[in-house]
């Protein structure tokens, strides 16, 4: 009784109502657009709450936030930054270590708006074809950018980083950034499912490393209620992270999604008509399903 990809979430809307079936998505969009607005208020309306962009920003002239990945590339190039930049890094690392590194991807990054749209359209149009690139490619690219930064003595990824370029395009001037944005959209739509964010982006790869011991995790707390509708797999940008937590009860795997690639977007929570998932604590949560085998866990249809 697996649902088709383009119907993902319909069942949840019928069971829980539209608002509950889109709760985390709405909150996420509020967060993403809120951050865009916070950055945009200055240049667009001359209200300077936040100055800078996603590589470094200063909020209300006091709160520094530094992208650790960008700064690390600078450090590899032999730079000694000001204390304020290091404070910014510490704050960012601490924050994302608590809420999940890749929360950056799903709650902050402007490219996510583009790739989410592409993913949604891909489901609606029933586009199936995808490339077989390894999801570990991004970690190779991550290593490569550090290597190149050390060799060339410049912050290499910032030359092409779609994350910062997209935001900078909106608040500092567009240039040819629209071409890059369009390229990523079409790539995700036509070439590869979750192509950019799920396979190549070294920024997400870096932030995923901050997730290794993150307490805030999605938990398949009621996994025994799973009816294999596949909606969560269809909407998840990193579907490989769900399986162990959701289907691993008989192998003794806990219900917590521990994989650091999980973006904590909460879309699986939204689209599950059976309310299997919830945000929880990595250490404290004991899903009721951990002790008993789920009723239909082994019979999947495909």
């Amino acid at each position: 009784m697996a649902n088709l990809p383009h119907e993902a979430g319909k069942e949840a809307i019928r069971e829980k109502g539209w608002l509950l079936a889109n709760k985390w998505l709405i909150l996420r969009r509020i967060s993403q657009f809120g951050i865009l607005l916070a950055f945009g208020l200055g240049p667009w309306f001359d209200v300077w709450l936040v100055k800078g962009n996603l590589s470094y920003s200063l909020t209300l002239d006091t709160l520094p936030l530094t992208d650790p990945y960008v700064l690390l590339q600078a450090l590899v190039g032999g730079v000694i930054p000001e204390t304020i930049a290091l404070v910014g890094v510490a704050l960012v690392v601490l924050f994302y270590s608590l809420v999940g590194g890749r929360s950056y991807c799903s709650w902050v990054c402007p490219v996510n708006l583009i790739t989410d749209t592409a993913g949604w359209l891909r489901r609606k149009l029933g586009l199936r074809g995808t490339t077989q690139a390894s999801r570990s490619t991004r970690y190779w690219i991550l290593g490569l950018t550090f290597l190149l930064s050390a060799i060339t003595g410049s912050i290499v990824w910032e030359l092409v980083n779609p994350v910062t370029i997209t935001l900078r395009a909106l608040i500092f001037g567009m240039g040819l950034a629209w071409l890059m944005i369009l390229g990523i959209f079409l790539f995700d739509l036509l070439v590869s499912r979750d192509g950019w964010c799920g396979h190549y982006c070294p920024v997400g790869a870096f932030y995923s490393l901050l997730s290794t011991w993150t307490p805030t995790r999605v938990v398949a707390a009621r996994r025994e209620a799973c009816d294999d509708c596949m909606d969560c797999f269809n909407v998840c940008p990193e579907p490989q992270v769900i399986r162990p937590a959701l289907k691993g009860a008989d192998k003794g795997i806990g219900p917590v999604i521990t994989a650091n690639q999980c973006t904590n977007c909460g879309r699986c929570i939204d689209v599950c008509a059976k309310d299997v998932f919830q945000f929880g604590n990595r250490f404290a949560t004991r899903g009721s399903a951990t002790l008993q085998a789920p009723p239909r866990a082994t019979t999947t249809e495909s």
């Binding site: 200055g42 300077w48 100055k51 800078g52 962009n53 590589s55 470094y56 920003s57 200063l58 520094p64 530094t66 992208d67 960008v70 700064l71 590339q73 600078a74 190039g77 032999g78 730079v79 930054p81 000001e82 304020i84 930049a85 910014g88 690139a133 390894s134 570990s136 490619t137 190779w140 690219i141 490569l144 950018t145 290597l147 190149l148 930064s149 060799i151 060339t152 003595g153 410049s154 912050i155 290499v156 910032e158 030359l159 092409v160 910062t164 370029i165 900078r168 395009a169 500092f172 001037g173 567009m174 240039g175 040819l176 950034a177 071409l179 890059m180 490989q240 399986r243 999947t300 495909s302």
Partner: protein, 289 residues
């Protein structure tokens, strides 16, 4: 699902190796491309001038994290960030002197805003900034060289009279006027670009260039004799020999001074060293020879 079975059992060594190699190769190729792009993109076009205090370009590119805070804190909004597709490294700050030169704020807010010292915080006196160097690059079109009065660059210069001075030269065309030639001095010019902005020509005859483009460099073996002499207190090449003038007794010659000096004691007896009749002198010389 076949997919789930595969995942459950894990991948075989062969699969692992082939996936790893494939990924490594494609990322390696990408790295070559990115490396070349980085090399090409890091060459800054000469009309783009970095903000005050910017480290030398190669250091600057590893230190600047492209946050744009210098752009935001510039009260005159002259700074821009390189955009994708520009020749300027993406997201790095610059200004164009002709359209918006640096106003040389005394408190240098752009430098203070920089979180990574890409704009060097040890720069506290804006007059010490060296963003570039103004060069009177087109002496054919600069109207001062035609003998016309302009001096606009000289007058707008924030370090007036030091960074640009006027060199008065003879106007050979009219024969009776002076040329007021602007001369830039690198020991004082900050490269702010006010002169380039103000130049009255359609295209500026005085332009600010990055210092490494604008400046020549003397051969390292080169020594100027007069400087070495001043340092050592004596000539290092041949010992100085005072020039001997072949003059009659009682007469001296002071070069670059009074000129010919006729000592008074020679005059005192009433007998001048020269006879009153110049012909006598000529006759005497001939007679002696």
């Amino acid at each position: 699902m076949a997919d789930s079975d595969k995942r459950g059992k894990g991948v075989s060594r062969r699969q692992f190796l082939s996936i790893t190699l494939k990924t490594a190769c494609s990322v390696g190729l990408m790295g070559i491309g990115l490396g070349f792009y980085a090399q090409r993109a890091n060459a800054l076009p000469p009309m783009a001038i970095r903000p005050p205090g910017a480290l030398p370009e190669s250091d600057f590119l590893s230190a600047c994290i492209r946050c744009g805070l210098c752009v935001r804190d510039c009260p005159y909004d002259i700074l821009f960030l390189g955009q994708l597709g520009d020749d300027i490294p993406t997201g790095s700050p610059y200004f164009i002197a002709r359209t918006g030169p640096c106003e040389m704020c005394e408190d240098i807010p752009c430098v203070k805003a920089c979180p990574t010292n890409a704009l060097d915080h040890s720069l506290t006196d804006i007059n010490q900034a060296r963003m570039g160097l103004a060069v009177v690059v087109d002496q054919e079109n600069c109207i001062a060289f035609q003998g016309l009065r302009c001096e606009v660059c000289f007058n707008v210069c924030p370090i007036r009279g030091k960074a640009i001075t006027l060199d008065y030269q003879h106007n050979a065309r009219s024969g009776k006027h002076a040329l007021f030639i602007p001369v830039v001095h690198s020991e004082a010019c900050t490269g702010c670009g006010k002169c380039e902005e103000a130049c009255i020509l359609e295209k500026a005859a005085i332009k600010v260039f990055p210092i490494e483009l604008a400046k020549g460099e003397l051969g390292h073996h080169y020594r100027f004799g007069w400087e070495e002499k001043a340092k050592a207190g004596r000539s290092l090449v041949t010992p100085d020999v005072e020039h001997q003038y072949n003059l009659p007794e009682g007469v001296k010659y002071d070069l670059q001074g009074k000129g010919l000096i006729i000592e008074e004691k020679a005059e005192a007896p009433g007998e001048p060293p020269f006879p009153s009749n110049p012909l006598d002198t000529l006759n005497r010389k001939r007679g002696e020879d």
